[in-house]
Amino acid sequence: MAEIVTDQTPAVLRGPTEKEKKYDRQLRLWAASGQAALESANILLVNSGAGTVGVETLKNLVLPGIGKFVIIDDAVVSEPDLGVNFFLDESCLEKSRSECCTNLLLELNPEVHGDWYPKNKEKLDLRYILNSSGPFTLIMYTNPIRQEDLATIEAYASQHQTPVVCIHSAGFYSYFRFSLHGTFPIVDTHPEVEKTTDLRLLQPWPELSAFAQEMVKEIDTLDDHEHGHLPYAVILLHFLEQWRQLHDGKNPTTPNEKKEFGKFVLSGSRTNNPEGGEENFQEAIDAINKNIKVSELEPGLKEVFNHQVSSEVERQSSFWTIARAVGLFYQKHNCLPLPGSLPDMKAQSSVYVKLQGLYKAKARKDAQEVLDLVRESVGGEHIEPTEVDLFCKNARFVKLINAKLGGPDLGQIFNAEKADDEAAEAMKIETGGAFSLPLSNFFIYLALKATAHSPVATANEIINTVTQLIPQAADYERMGQIAQEVARARGGELHNISALTGGMVAQEVIKIITKQYIPIDDTCIFDGISSRSAPHRRKHPEFALRIRV
């Protein structure tokens, strides 16, 4: 046991600030960079109807500390509002709903600014407000909405390339749909840590090979302590070398070969000890499947490499400039820049720290090479090295949202979804209910959308609206049931469904503002009866469905 306890402490020992304390639980998810992005965001809510889902969304954005929000809503608070909206009370009756909600939302976080419109009883001039209180980071609007207001929002958003989300909550159903105007790349996708390990065991660089060779030079004469503390990365590099000598220079690739290779590694473990084996060798064997494989490009990164930029502005953006440089790096080396992190493994402290240093140094070298390539391209001279570092570290999991264009039309989706529903029913019958697949939420989307401008519609009116787009919808029984369920709510919101939907929308808005994690692409439909949500992706100009499993 190390007995030395030094009294010297590092020079900078800083406790957290008040703000860091308050936001501690979220900073652990999106860090100071994400928080800074939130704090400079200005979010607009164009509210209407029962009016709760948008306000619940804002609540989940005010709490983590967005910079500013604006609510546009010309409704006056009435009794039904008090039965569904938590950010109103009896003193608000007959007053401006946007003003009252703004005030009660602002109580949640003194650091957030808020404003509301219309200020007096004047007629709402949406175009004027949009132009005078922006620019907005993101616009949210709720259904039902007046056609002309929707047109105003869409025109503004497309002119300013502002992301927009449409939210609709009625009865037990809801959906929301994001429009992002062009591709939306995410670098900091936060993949699961286990997936990110990249030890380069099949493509070791010279310094790593030399380090491993030095450690195992006299592997058989190492004392038990040293032998039992060889890091598993070193063990695997050593036995791979040996394996190749016995197998015409080839690495173990098939499952069978890997199994044999595992036995081969195990044969090197010393067993003349009380445990009858060595932990580090066991770690090595456990690491074979994940680490001894030729790395393939993830689909997300492939899409980035194959993407055709749509404009010169996009082309010169820092993301695409760095992406091109990483692409060149990949072509040249047949591997991505090294992320540089080393997972924990049994080893002596000093050996582990040295090995960690090798990985870090190689990552820095790779990032420098990418930076040099960036600097050579037009506009690349202004790109920050930290941005290049971040890209290199996350390169394998970089992702494009809203990248695909084109796809089947609504009728084709309808047919496909209906066929899936029928297959699910058949499966349920076949297995006596033991195995059931979820039914499609697509029909909920259709029924809700049919009430986007007229909340109080009968089931027949809903079906009529849907069949104008999709004639065959009239014949599908489940479509009819869902239309009845939507009609039952008569445009009213259930607080739970709006609170839940507000949570999901806020989460997606946070991902878009912070450019972290992976935002939904692009529609989510929630069924509060079966408690399921399913993402749909709209492909301009038609719809396409992508349910992730």
């Binding site: 501690d24 009794e79 569904v84 936060h190 039952r488 609170a499 994690y517 408690s531 992730r548």
Partner: protein, 426 residues
Amino acid sequence: MTGTNATRRWQYLDHIRRNLGPFNQDSDVSEEALEALGQAKILVIGAGGLGCEILKDLALSGFRNIHVIDMDTIDISNLNRQFLFRKDDVGKHKAEVAAAFVEKRVKGVKITPHNCRIQDFDEDFYMQFQIVVCGLDSIEARRWINATLVNMVDMDNQDSLKPLIDGGTEGFKGQTRVIFPTLTPCIECQLDLYTPRAAVPLCTLATIPRQPEHCIEWAHIIAWDQEKPFPDLDKDDPEHITWLYQKASARAQEFGITGVTYSLTQGVVKNIIPAIASTNAIIAASCCNEALKIATTAAPALGFEESYMMYSGDDGIYTSTFKYDKKPDCAVCGEVAKPLQVDPSMTLRDLLDSFAVKPDLQLKKPSIRADDKTLYMQFPPSIEEQTRSNLDKTLKADLGLDVGHEIAVTDPAFPALTFRFILSFT
């Protein structure tokens, strides 16, 4: 408030309560049945991230008689999501502040706070409720209330069956479960869904630290005990955390390890789980949606078919619902002993230690009996002393345990439970 205003106030909720839909055609929508929601007494356990949301959601779902239990007081780090609390409330009881806030905002709802532990109440207390909704961050408390509610079920008394709705979150992920005690799988049946985190071996902390976490755990487990800078470690006292942070930093420097920060120290020592408003909103609302469906039959609820909803929001949005099976050898709701395979040459101490990390057990202070004799008891001290010498004995040769023997394990955290095992040897 006049009757007409009350009717107008709840009109959105009434749309779905008074009108039958295609998925609840057999529901009772008589005035009498509609009245039941307002009469129902519902218990909320936890007034934290989920609890605040749950209280709001239930109040706006038409529940009018709500109780809430939470022993905690408000901390500044709660304010980013526990939206019923303000900076001035720091240090006050969560249950009290939350109850008062929602009562004031939503007229007509009565919320009774209890600033105490759930274990402070007996079955009589729990018997008064129709539904229990849990928003807890502790597995132990969940297991306790689950065992209590299962034990309370009396097949001759329909009212003794209290549906348990349980929510949990971690970062962008969460889950909702609906349990009808004794009828559907209980929390103990699904305990292996929570894998306890593997502890770092003591020798790594003591001699070969490699990660900043190892240095922090060293300061926490070893240096603190050696130096006792304060009588007891208070994980919420910044001075104590600062001491650990400085110790850990010094040790990291000694070994050339980077990455020890105050925030990481706090995270490791307190086992902090990231928490955000949006995930809490989603899971709490999903719990309350199920509560409303159970109380009103306005739509079919989770429970008898699929009983578990899993939510994940870090990569797009993904939810799915699962059907679980009851485990016949569940220590809470099952009837039979579980098989337990052990190495006959292991010591009793090793066996007891293994119970802490076994996913389906997770017991920190186990006592153990075999058929007729007590092998080891944690309490009372006199028996502990008498049985302590058994800890270093081996199971077969010294203690005479053999294949087919039944052993019984208990733990003070779950006084109502006995975990029964049938031994077999590896």
